[in-house]
Symmetry: D3
Subunit: 111 residues, 6 copies
């Protein structure tokens, strides 16, 4: 598990690369993805938990890490995050277990 | 879109069939699935929204319908549900659009 | 649930359509798919059960029906099939439940 | 298989429902999805074929139908479409076969 | 490919972390997942092969490794395992090939 | 990102291992997969782009790398590849972003 600063650096570099010479479709998607989790009818905390669960059942470790970090920063507790992971496990099956393990290691480090 | 009572009847009959002569693994899974959405570190309302999003990105209309109905019954508003569907759309892509359409028809009918 | 004869008719018509003017890639794939479940290092019965579980976790009702029918014809029992479905449920999560329900209805009709 | 006019009507009604009271995230996504297939570094014909293959390996019949209709309208031939479906079959496996059958029925009707 | 003892150690540590402070849903799921592969209407050998195929078509290397190790320990032969992987390849498509390569490397090392 | 020669070496070794003692189903699948991208009703360039998009929405980095390399070798430009990735992003959602990042790093290195 890398440090928060390393995660941010790597993510920023990846996105810069993605935006460089990108067609409009990619630029618009990234802007939309960035804005979608802001407070609205649902608070950002709930939306980030939805992001954690979507990322877990679709099994994308990088996406899980991003939404777990955003959740913690927005004030979500470790217990709430673990409970959300439990929903992902029941919905997505044993196939999600390796991703739950990584998420738990990340929580261990960050909280 | 079938009526709530029809949905319940069909679901109950399907589950009865599933439990009849089922091995312990299936029985335990269904019991676990039933309990997982109860109030805990997260309230049932949030957990049902997690269920809506997991079902949408994994593209299971039957599961979406179940969690939308449970959400409404638990007091979640139409606007909150639509916002959760927006997160599923961004995370899961255009491939989820047909499922959003069905969910909107269901909301149209139920709210 | 349609009758076995109807299922066979519909499947045969669909495959004929698929083979008509099909490029070699499709023809070779269908031939390979047909042969893959024959007795080999594993007996056909086991291979058809593998087909049932792959079809269930990937959530393809048509494929489940095909492999359930083949399994029964090859001598697999209803209990063995339900136990295989239990493995698919644990591996693939609650998202597979609607497919287990259809499979149980099919078994109800066929056994 | 419904008629082109019916498909358009149903799709338009579904999208209208989706846009009604939709949060900005959904509105922006639908606009982006609409524009993404326009001519660019790749011609619309190639991009619609990419849409057909993405829809087939992700197994969304509604999406396949949409991109097949757009492809034909843009001048792609039946043979080119079938060859694209062959790539989807090899990449996505036998699990895509039911979707190839529907696509072939649609092509049978439209060409 | 790590040594069996390393795999066991890493897996045990991951599960311990997962169980620590876990909500009941996660604890019950892990217990169920542990018991589901025991002898029943189907022998453990067949059930582990079902686990290998489910893990391969859902493309989870960690899960494949677990079920391959369990299969070998239960007496399944290398040829039987490779034949099961062939079914996964046909059902899941070329997208599973990298996972078949890892599985073959593991078999090379273990048998 | 490894060098082209390393990628080829690793891939060749993996396939040799896969073919060693493989049952006929695996041998036939690999031959079919090899031939499917040759010129036909669609040129190889288009078919490799279909392979890139299928690999991206199904989220297989190894497969993306293979089809990106084949595309470049067949004369497809960097801009065309990025535009194809944009279609994959819209169809498959934010969950594909980490794979787009890797693909962009590969393009950075190869073009």
């Amino acid at each position: 598990m890398e440090k928060a600063s390393d995660f941010e650096t790597r993510r920023a570099r990846g996105n810069a690369l993605l935006l460089k010479d990108a067609p409009l479709a990619i630029k618009r998607f990234l802007a939309l993805d960035h804005d979608a989790y802001d407070d609205g009818a649902l608070p950002k905390t709930t939306k980030e938990l939805l992001g954690v669960v979507a990322s877990t059942v679709l099994r994308c470790d990088d996406c899980i890490e991003y939404h777990v970090r955003e959740s913690l920063e927005a004030g979500t507790t470790r217990d709430e995050l673990i409970e959300a992971l439990g929903i992902a496990l029941v919905a997505g099956g044993s196939i999600t277990i390796p991703h739950l393990r990584s998420a738990m290691e990340l929580l261990e480090e960050l909280t």
